[in-house]
């Protein structure tokens, strides 16, 4: 895998930069021989993304390079619908959320908040509904300017009983059930839940960019 990444990066960057990025990436993802698990693929991708920001100033060329890296690692595009059927997907979704929010120009703190919300929603799907989807998309205004991000979590699970208690913070349980959803609402501000027993759950959360800025 490192060889393949090295070949891709070499088409976009000088040898010194390629070396620096790969060294960070492999030390973060664990060296060479292991199988390319989703977790490892995401760790590699994350490190390459951070490295490219340092070594490749042009945002468009950076995106083009990242697209090739993403394909080589077998990762889906950040934007779009992600299937959630297990814990590996939780990691995949929150990495995608961080990637998309970073490319939209959210601050580091906001990226972590958005990724955390996606982690909570995806984990709820795995835990309570077994499978579902997380959709990530950019929010644009009428003029086509990017204004924020939307996260849509959908499942056909048992539904959430006592939603009002959970969102009002009156629900206390030893297992911590409900804390994730309440936390997600606090982090996003704008979070709507549509649920009923036996009908599944849809959560839509939005966060707007503080100031209108281009992709960082």
């Amino acid at each position: 895998m490192e060889l393949e990444l090295s070949a891709i990066l070499s088409r976009h960057l000088g040898a010194v930069s390629v070396d620096a990025i790969l060294r960070t990436a492999t030390s973060r993802a664990g060296r060479g021989a292991g199988p390319l698990t989703p977790v490892r693929a995401h760790a590699l991708f994350g490190a390459v993304r951070v490295g490219l920001r340092t070594f490749l100033a042009d945002a468009r060329r950076r995106e083009a390079c990242l697209d090739e890296v993403r394909t080589a690692l077998g990762l889906p595009r950040a934007e779009g619908v992600h299937r959630v059927t297990g814990e590996a997907d939780v990691v995949a979704c929150r990495t995608a959320a961080r990637e998309l929010s970073a490319s939209l120009g959210f601050t580091a703190v906001d990226q972590t908040k958005i990724a955390t919300v996606v982690s909570e929603l995806a984990r709820n799907i795995v835990r309570y509904a077994v499978s579902g989807t997380i959709e990530l998309k950019e929010l644009r205004d009428a003029a086509g300017t990017v204004r924020g991000i939307e996260v849509r979590a959908q499942d056909q699970g048992p539904g959430i009983a006592g939603l009002d208690e959970i969102l009002a913070g009156r629900y206390r349980s030893k297992t911590g059930m409900g804390l994730g959803l309440l936390g997600a609402k606090r982090l996003m501000g704008d979070l709507q839940v549509d649920t009923a027993p036996g009908r599944g759950t849809t959560v839509v959360a939005r966060r707007h960019l503080a100031a209108a800025r281009g992709a960082a």
């Binding site: 973060r28 664990g30 292991g34 977790v39 760790a43 994350g46 814990e87 590996a88 939780v90 990691v91 929150r94 990495t95 961080r98 580091a108 703190v109 990226q111 972590t112 908040k113 990724a115 955390t116 982690s119 909570e120 984990r123 913070g169 911590g176 804390l179 994730g180 309440l182 936390g183 997600a184 606090r186 982090l187």
Partner: protein, 133 residues
């Protein structure tokens, strides 16, 4: 099920050090609890959990940290959580997750300082073998 990969539990001068570098899963967490439990049983004066390699702290991971600290606590060993990055800290506070029962430190070095000087701790087996010399 035993995972192919497990999170290492390192014993250094009587302190157990756990550094999370990968996303935690249920399987990894169960294995980690078992390994920390076994490490505590062999004798330890403290448990330091380093989160500097973690991408984010959601309610699942916070609960896992609390469980580890509780586990060590009922075995009489203090736990210090360290290495949280600022964006994670801000997120935790705004989420309203209550971590007040956890002892925390800025980084691993501060955590080890907090758990007391290494020189004051002598492992049980070592103490008995030294006294016979």
């Amino acid at each position: 099920m035993t995972p192919a990969f497990r999170i290492p539990v390192i014993s250094l001068h009587g302190t157990l050090i756990v550094s999370l570098q990968v996303a935690l899963s249920d399987v990894l967490l169960e294995q980690l609890k078992a390994d920390v439990g076994a490490g505590l049983e062999r004798g330890a004066r403290g448990l330091a959990v380093d989160l500097s390699g973690v991408d984010l702290l959601d309610s699942y991971l916070s609960r896992a940290m609390r469980d580890l600290a509780l586990l060590a606590g009922v075995m009489g060993v203090p736990t210090v959580i360290c290495g949280m990055d600022p964006t994670t800290a801000v997120t935790l506070v705004e989420m309203g997750l209550d971590l007040s029962e956890l002892r925390t430190a800025l980084d691993l070095e501060a955590a080890l300082d907090d758990l007391g000087p290494a020189s004051s701790w002598v492992p049980v087996e070592a103490a008995s073998s030294w006294s016979s010399n």
